[in-house]
Each structure stands twice: as C-alpha cells, then as structure tokens.
Symmetry: C2
C-alpha cells in the first residue's frame, strides 16, 4: 500500500474526539476532587460492551497507584478486554502506598457495579498533586452521575474534565474508508483525547491519553499497534524532561464499524491503514501537548537527520529540545544557532562538527559547522509563527528523528515557582 496515497484519503473528523468512533460514550462531571463546583474533575470513557483494550504506562519508578492497578487489569501484558476508563484530576494518587492502591481498586469496583461488568474491565488514571491520599467519596458520587449521563456528546466534557494546567482541551479524530478488500465498504474512525503537561497545585507534569477506534482488533495486536505508535509520537514530546509518575495511554477497539468481519491482523493493508490513522491522531495530540506546555508560546519541532543511527538522532534532537538555553532563546525570538550546536555537541551523538548543517525556520544558519550570514530581520519575522522548526543534519549517516517541545518562558517559572498555597 502506498502510504502517501492513503494519507490523502484520511480525513479529520470535525470536532472529533474520544467518542467519534462507533461504540463509545463518555462524560465529564464535577465529582468533588476540586473545590470549585464548575470545574469538571472526573471523566469516564465507556464502551458499549467489553472490548479489546491496550495500555502503555510510565516507566517512572515512583509510578502511581492507578498505573499499577490498570496494568494489573490489563493482565500485566498491557492488553485484554476492558469496558471503561475512569480518570480524575486534582490528585495523582502517587506515593500513596497501600492506601492509594486500595482507593484505585475501589474506584474500579464502583464503576464495575454501576456498569455491570467485571472489575478487571475497568481501567483508572489520575493526575494532580503527588503524595496526598486520594479520597474515594468523590468517586462514589461522580461515577453514578457520569454513568447516568454517558453520551457521544459527553466526549468534549470528558476531555475538559481531565485537564490540569492545560489551557484548553485536546481532542482529535480521523476517519477513512478501508482499501483492504476484507473490509470493503467499512469506514473506520480513530479518535482520542489527551491532557498534557500541567498541574493544578503545581506538582507533576502528567500525560493521560485515551484513544478509541471502531476497527476490529484483537487485544494483543492492539497493544503492538499502540506501543509502536506511542514510541514515535507521545514519546517524542518533551516539555521539561520530567517523566511523570502517572503517564497513561490507553486504546480501546470496539469493532463496531465492521461487525462480523475478521479481526485485523498484522502484515495486512488494514493493519497498515489503522497504524497510519492512529499515528496521525497521536501525532496531532502529541503536538497539542507540546504546544500547550506550561507557559508555552510556541510549539517547537526539532528534526535531526543524517545521524549515525535513529537512536543517535533521537539523542541529539532530544538534547536540543531539552536545552533550557535553546528554549529560552526561542521565547526571546533569538535565532541562536550556537546554542543548538552546543546542545547537539553535548548530546553524545557521534558526528564531526565540520559536517554539520543547521536550519532554523528554513533559514540556513550553519554549514560545515560554520556560521552562515543570515538576515536577522527576516529571522525575527519568521519567529512570529506559532511553530518554530529547527532542523539539523549531522552528516554522519541515515538516522533521523523528530522531537516536539515548547519554549521556556517566564510563565513556566511562574506556574511552577509560585508557592503551592
């Protein structure tokens, strides 16, 4: 299958999100984790019946209780059948020990009773302050309330309920007609919602993502698909290099768009199509996280090519994206390629500085490791754009990588430096 040709047929779903795919409903409510009664603070995404589901989770050793419980419910392998995801904001339920695990399990218990499913078919995620015990009472109120109101329109409220210092909800969905003859006439949809880097009291950056599709996929295949796509999308985002205790990304597949059709197997056109659609959704959501990073005024895309390997390209691009000197320069609209060079050089990626080229906003600023004179006024004009693109060619091989980040502004320091009270 020609992916470029296929791409042209994938279309964004207007106002699409986590309930765009057939077979899913959602709702966001004020359960009481936060003080203000207008602030939505609990979301549920529910499949009409137990469906294949897969999850990938934080690697942080201080992983939160809901991460431990969701992992268990997905059989430790990261895939299984699931019916629902419950997310609260305002408290991360991290560094809360046995008590925190008990609350996460009880959350699933409540949801399973209300929905009439197995407790293992409920997944849970939390975001907010670390090290404070999470109260079960808001779930006791919020879960029945959310379940009563579940609808496709509730997806937008769910996306809002999982926000912390995010400035706006982040949702995206795409749809496509399958070109695989097995699924002739089927239109598949992939959509999701994500919350990005932020904290309410300030505490930890956390990513929580829920994606749904109505394509028919077995749990294990779904996990393979998710893990592959996450490594090329969400794992390429860095706002401040701090990996959260709570990062969670789950994918549900209802199969509702091709009832009775066989499950999509690996190495088929249908799999490739779905992987591509999932990639587009995850990339849109990942870019959304970077652009809405705390205090961010710019989305920053760092492309490294010509590296000795893809790993080297990733290391080099990440060093640029995490450099406070690069990020503050972008905040200051300073086309400061010396800092990019410095970050590439310290990254550990193998290259000879005499072979390095750097472009910023398509302006050649460095060739063969040396400065190229450029029009600073033109550079300033191009820095008005909402997305700043830095591209470096290391001249050392064929490896490439893209990392998304944001600039580092006074607001980042303000949001995270103001005393919690």
């Amino acid at each position: 299958m020609d992916i470029d040709e296929f791409d042209a047929t994938i279309r964004a779903v207007p106002d699409g999100g986590v309930t765009s795919a057939a077979g899913f409903v959602a709702e966001g409510v004020h359960a009481g984790f936060r003080a203000h009664p207008d602030r939505l603070d609990m979301a549920m995404v529910v499949a009409e019946q137990p469906v294949p589901a897969a999850g990938v989770f934080t690697t942080n050793r201080f992983c939160a209780a809901p991460v431990t419980v969701s992992r268990e419910h997905l059989g430790g392998q990261g895939y299984g059948l699931a019916r629902a995801l419950v997310v609260n904001s305002g408290n991360a339920n991290a560094a809360t020990g046995e008590q925190g695990l008990a609350v996460a399990r009880e959350t699933c218990e409540i949801a399973s009773q209300v929905l009439g499913c197995e407790v293992e078919q409920v997944l849970v995620a939390s975001t907010g302050v670390i090290g404070q015990q999470l109260d079960i009472a808001p779930f006791e109120r919020g879960i029945p309330q959310a379940c009563d109101a579940l609808s496709r329109a509730g997806g937008a409220r769910a996306a809002r309920a999982i926000m912390t210092t995010d400035t706006h909800p982040k949702e995206y969905a795409v749809a496509y007609e399958s070109r695989d003859l097995t699924y002739a006439g089927c239109t598949f949809t992939v959509g999701g919602m994500v919350k990005g880097s932020g904290m309410i009291m300030p505490n930890m950056a956390t990513m929580i993502c829920c994606i749904t599709t109505d394509a028919p996929v077995a749990p294990k295949t779904l996990h393979t698909l998710l893990a592959d796509v996450v490594s090329d999308t969400f794992n390429k985002v860095t706002v401040d290099s701090d990996t959260s205790t709570n990062d969670t990304c789950v994918l549900f597949a209802s199969g509702a768009a091709a009832m009775g059709a066989p499950l999509i197997a690996e190495d088929t056109d249908a799999y490739e199509e779905l992987a591509r659609a999932l990639h587009i959704v995850c990339e849109a959501l990942a870019r959304g996280i970077a652009a809405d990073g705390e205090g961010a005024t710019k989305l920053v895309t760092v492309n490294v090519m010509g590296a000795a390997s893809d790993e080297d390209a990733d290391i080099a691009a990440r060093a640029v994206a995490n450099s406070p000197l690069v990020k503050t320069a972008i905040a200051g609209h300073d086309c400061n390629w010396g800092r990019v060079a410095g970050a590439l050089g310290k990254s550990g990626a193998a290259f000879d500085q005499r072979n390095v080229s750097i472009d910023i906003m398509d302006i050649p600023v460095c060739r063969a490791g040396l400065a190229v004179p450029f029009d600073e006024d033109e550079a300033l004009r191009r820095f008005e754009a909402p997305e700043i693109i830095i591209s470096a060619d290391l001249g050392a091989g064929d490896g490439s990588a893209t990392i998304w980040t944001c600039d580092l502004t006074h607001d980042y320091v303000r949001i995270n430096g103001d005393y919690r009270s």
Copy 2:
C-alpha cells in the same frame, strides 16, 4: 594518613586565588574584545618558568578552537610543560573552523614571543558568543600589556577579566604544612580562579578554571590528580544541563615551595594531602559556580545515598538537580518533595519506591515512599537559607553522590531569553 585529621590543618588563604601559590603571577586587562573600556576582557596566568601542567577539557563535539589548540599543546595526553594560560572573554572562538584555529595558534605565538618560551608552552581558552570569528588584534595589544603588568596582585584582576554573566569573580586558595617526612617543613599552597555559567551576548554557559600549586609534581601525575578531582567536583555541577563547547580546567605546579625536593609520587602521603587540598579548592570553586548560576538565588546541593552503585547515585542526583520542576519549586520556596520523587523515579536508577526516604533542609518529608506530615511554616523559614540541601536515600545499596546546582528563576529566562541585541 587520616584525612579528617589532615583536613583540620588545611587553612583557607585570605583573599587567596590563582597567584597564592609561589611561582605564579597574573594580570587582567581590557584588550578590546568588549566595547566598554572599563571591562577587563583578557587574563594571563604565568609561571616564572615552564612548569608541569595538566588540563581537562569539554567533551562537547562542537569543541572550540582554543580547546583543540590547548589539547595539542599538552601533547594530546592532557599534560606537559607550560608557561602560561591566556584567556579572553566576549567571544568563544567556537564553530569558527580553520580560521578560528589559526587565531588560537597565533594567540599562543604572540604570548610565547613576549614571554620568551616555546609556543607549545602557552595554553589558551575563550568564553563568549559562539559562531563569530575571533579578532587577533586585541591579543596583539593585550598580551604585551598584560605581560608588562604581571604580578601576584594581578590574580584578582585576572579572575575578573574571565567573567561573562558571572555576578562576581570566584577565587579560592588553601595552604597546608606537609606531614610527609620527605617534605618536612614545606608549606604547600593550592589556589585557583574560575568563571561559571554565563554568557555575554547570551550564548553558551562556559566553565574556565585555572589552578596553581607550588608543590613539585610531574606532568603525568598532575593530570591523574586533576582528572580525579574534577570528576568529583566540577563535573558534579549542573546549572542547566548544557555542557559548553569551551569548558577548560588547567592546573600548573611550580614546585617553588619545595625546590630540590623529589617530585610527589602517587601512593604517598604527600600525594594524598595534595589531592585533598586540590579537592577542597575545586569544591569551593564548583559550589561558587552553582551558587552564581544565571539568575540563581540559591545554591542547591543534592545528596543521594543508598543507591545500588555510585553511578546510580550520580544519575539520580543529576536527575533531581536538572529537573526544571524541582528548580522552579526551590525558587518559589516550595518544599515540594513530590517533584524530587518524580525526578528520582524517572532517572533510571534502580530502586523500590517503598524503600525511599527524602529529607529537604533536614526535614523528613518522605519515608518508605510515603508522605510524612511536616510543618510548612518551618519549611518556609528554612528556605530562607542561601543553600538548599536535598537528601535522598534510595534504600538500594551503598552508592552515593553529591551534585550542585541552583534554582531556576525568572532571571534565568530573562538573561537567556532577551534578544541578543
């Protein structure tokens, strides 16, 4: 030898610096790298004759021309005989290609002619903006002018001339009577100057350090000594995780305090004494760099113990010290141990969160991975101190490490985000 007992006999030299050790003179002048005539911008440190010298340099692949030339002059191994170090501020001579190398070599040539020594006996270092060609003319004026004025009192002016956005010069020296019978009656002095993280136009953080001693040491031994001490002192400092293109640390040993005595060999008490004295000087200068980091209001010391290995301790301590979330919290006087836990957890160091203890300013805030209630008012009071100490025990072994850093403030963003003009 009992190091603790020995430590008690080491004394700080009042107003000590790079010329405290016998056999060294220095000067700082305005050569013309910077516009303002009152701003010292070129320093020389000169031994009365060629003496053993050792250097350690940046590992950044975009290493600057003076680093390449100084490495060559120390025979590629990092040690040899040297007479002088010439440092300019205002221009890093980095990413300047063959032309930059020619300027660095010509600088050494000029100094060797004025001093009457071999060109290879001159070392050179630069700090300032990257990617601009360095003019030789200021050296042609400044080197003769500095050489005419060389004196022991000139050390203070040299320390000032190497500054960029440092807010004050950083000098330190210690003296001690040797307890090694071979050097009975000898008083050895170790002193140095350093510039820390800062940039004039803003560009790259750069560390340039020159240390002198009047102890008699062979070049190769001197290099072993320097490399060991640097790895435990300067290499444990991180202001913003950006390793410079120009980092340079050189150590000269005149032997003037023990003329005619044998060279100090490894595995002797005299070596151990000198290593300890050098460690104390480098630690004082390293802490000075961290405390004077760009925009810093606090020195931050991160101690990790109980790690599976010293390497793990270093990784974990560095993750905490580089975490923007931890650094902004300290700027906000927020005793936010959840961010410390998050940084430890993402570091990659091996541990079980249930065994982790964290203290901030001697306040137990986390035990067995769980929150310990603490008096927030008392914590706020302790955050008034100029040095914030974070200690974590991972409960995973005997490894330990200390990393120094500073807080992340609005001033860091201002200094590095303002447009270069």
